[in-house]
Point group: none
Chain length 157, copies 4
């Protein structure tokens, strides 16, 4: 019988569960394959993209900037990937909620600066567990999102 009760310790009443959590994390091989699939999509669409992959902890795992891609999108691609992992949802979904009058207005001020428009997507396993994220930046957000989607499919397909 195991209950997670934090500081409260009822002694004889409950056993404390001291097990570690077991989680998945993205491997470099997976991250590089995500990068490659995203890059292939960008080439197919004739786009120049910055592509970042972060791990389960939100830390940078792999990055590539295609020749001629916007310099300002290096940081945006990385922030999109982090934002998608930070909230386990597409960055565009966060952006819908961060508009004036919406429930998460100005959430971008947190975490040293979020990017909340489309182009960041969580990377999930078949059971829906998030264990990384991709962020793409370099063109209109619809294209950023197309390229990110192609990257994510490297894992799930």
């Amino acid at each position: 019988m195991c209950h997670n009760l934090g500081y409260t310790n009822f002694g004889h009443l409950l056993e404390i569960n001291m097990d570690s959590l077991n989680i998945k994390d993205i491997s470099l091989q997976q991250a590089n394959t995500v990068l490659e699939k995203a890059k292939a999509k960008a080439i197919e669409l004739n786009l120049k993209m910055n592509i970042a992959v972060v791990d389960a902890g939100g830390n940078l795992k792999a990055f590539a900037r295609m020749d001629g891609a916007w310099l300002g999108s290096i940081d945006i691609a990385i922030r999109k990937a982090r934002t998608a992992r930070f909230f386990d949802m597409p960055t565009g979904e966060v952006g819908k909620l961060s508009q004036p009058g919406a429930s998460l207005y100005n959430i971008e001020h947190s975490n040293g600066g979020l990017i909340t428009f489309p182009g960041g997507l969580p990377i999930k396993d078949a059971e829906g567990n998030v264990f990384g994220a991709i962020g793409v930046s370099g063109d209109i957000v619809e294209n950023d999102n197309l390229v990110a989607t192609a990257g994510v499919k490297a894992i799930l397909n």
Copy 2:
């Protein structure tokens, strides 16, 4: 007769009051109890939350991230608690005033980054004196606020 007049010195007209202020501050025991009550509410609602408590000075006193809670909400929970103490009001009240055209538009740029949507609440004594604050982040803001409210009640009830 005591007046706090700061630098202004009217000489013979007024006595200068050199007494210190006596303020309340939240104890770690109180802060942990606030955390526990908030966490219990989150478990009851089947939510995974980041919960932060700051003291009378706006400085972090206690923090807990429930297993599986959003990574991006660590920073948001702490900023909500600070924002609530910075202005001695619920973060959602600040957020109403920070909208485009409203009186505190983009106040989020101050203090290294505020979070002004619901989920941060001042912690008060029975006389209404604020001596700390709680910030909760991990779900829709209505749920964040419910969990924060449960935490605050640990002190007042």
Copy 3:
């Protein structure tokens, strides 16, 4: 037959290993127990400490500031915990290497600011896998380290 070869794909020559990594992460129950053990040691030694625990990804998991503990040590405790996880070693070991003339001189400028004197320790399982870290700050570094050591023992003992 599995090889991690990153971008290089020899097609028919090698299979690509697309498995995720399986890692441990610290639970909130574990983190709170580490906090409690560290706090008990601080009380035994009549010290007032800030105590932080980060997870496998270096993200804050739990924090407590004892009543009267230095305000400036909030940030130091958190940075010590992160530094210990960032390099999977005691912060004091990093500090020996970051001295003038030593091999990691001024490493403190990385990662938004490291703290490299004693008081931060990795949290390991019985096999030596690091899956979190503790950082303690509030007194002389020898005492910070004693309290951190007591916290770590909550997991390994």
Copy 4:
């Protein structure tokens, strides 16, 4: 007769050369090859490394973190690469000059934080023109430098 004199204009004395500069820049293909050669060296030495490549402008071009590599070395690898390009010399050479009493004491405070111990190397063409840099972090600086050297050789050999 061509002289680049910037703001100074001697009127009739000199012709103004309005030609653009023609510079080399590292391609993504080159950067990825540098990454792969560095990674192969790390695998040969049984090391887990963070490897970053920046372009002629000092901007991130490609990055890879090997599985299990130190989290704190993500930022250090990128800063080493930038530092090597910022001054077109090995980071360890900058570090010799940044010691207490030396001519560039505490230069690490510039540029948002430099890393000046070994592991960062400029990437040059056969004529010695610098058009990128590599930064490696994950082990003792001698090994970081060995891996960075292997990466640089991908271009020159």
